[in-house]
Symmetry: C2
Subunit: 207 residues, 2 copies
């Protein structure tokens, strides 16, 4: 079967370790491309344009929206965040599985446009472990942690919208598991419509 | 996550190599149990009761039907074929993934009763290869082969009812792939409802 790239959306609770997981996946296997978001927020110290984000002016971002150049976007805290379409489509056409790290509203918007997109949800092994990781960062106040935990409770409502869950206990185990799930996902009928139709046409010819 | 067994239904064209594939899978990994069908047809030379089939009298089979002791059954060429419920349920409770090799009507009946059953469809790499395998058996007349090919065309209509397709080109590669698909299938939200509900309850407690 000719391999077509899958658009893979990774969501999960803040503190579940999505960012590290996705970075390691792309590092470890060469079948992936990581989509970089565009944003109008200011770069933080150490962030580089085209690495963490594409940093755009508000006018540039709004022009991209108008041109249908983003496959999804949202506005948080007065800043835009979005996924540039061109990079994603070029990589998919090239047979790469393209990874987007994005929250649930964006994930559902993408599924509407790309019906074969694969939606994955990263979970911590337990709530206690989630709290431990948030506290362990050492950068968050108790108030912020409480807010994150409440946000996680809301996000948990949407898990059934995702095709697979991935429990991030040990990083390397989880990366391997994620990779195997994606390989398996290449074998669903909807992602092999062309191969199936070819076999059908040939079998009709045998009648 | 506590592992619960999955009921796995393997269908596919006659000549796609389902039987060999399933036998090798169960041999290679100890997480599987192979369900043995009951039938009222006569044993063929070399077949053993409880290995290829449980060979039953018509009255015994009909008593099993009446007692709801079969999870599905059908009648072909005046003989009954069916899947005894007790073995399947005992193995699932024990955490084993139970494999049934069965055709599409049976597969759909099972999915109605076991909503978390996993439906897999085995395909040959091409129609030419399917024909080659049927001819290669050397036991079939041209008329039988033509009938099988027509039957395959009908079966191909139902592929979208299955969750995954597996292309059987090289046996060992295909066995590994089948195993990996099953491992991935353990990670869908519907098969982890208890784990997800636990996390939700804990997160609610954090509010």
């Amino acid at each position: 079967m000719k391999r077509k790239g899958i658009l893979i959306v990774v969501s999960g609770f803040s503190g579940a370790g999505k960012g590290t997981l996705v970075k390691r996946l792309v590092e470890k296997y060469d079948s992936y491309a990581l989509s970089i978001s565009a944003t109008t927020r200011q770069p933080r110290a150490g962030e580089e344009d085209g690495r963490e984000y594409f940093f755009l002016q508000k006018e540039q971002f709004e022009r991209k929206i108008a041109e249908n150049g983003l496959i999804e976007y949202a506005c948080y805290c007065d800043n835009y965040y979005g996924t540039p379409r061109e990079y994603v489509e070029r990589q998919l056409a090239d047979g790469k599985d393209v990874i987007l790290e994005i929250e649930i509203q964006g994930a559902l918007k993408i599924k509407e446009q790309y019906k074969d997109a694969l939606l994955l949800f990263v979970m911590p092994p337990s709530t206690a472990e989630l709290r431990r990781r948030l506290v362990g960062r050492g950068t968050e106040t108790e108030e912020v942690i409480a807010k994150r935990m409440r946000r996680a409770a809301e996000e948990a409502e949407g898990i059934e919208k995702y095709e697979y869950i991935v429990v991030n206990d040990d990083l390397e185990t989880c990366v391997t598991q994620l990779h195997e799930i994606i390989i398996a996902a290449h074998n669903t009928p909807n992602r092999n419509q062309e191969f199936i139709e070819n076999i059908r046409t040939e079998l009709e010819g045998e009648k």
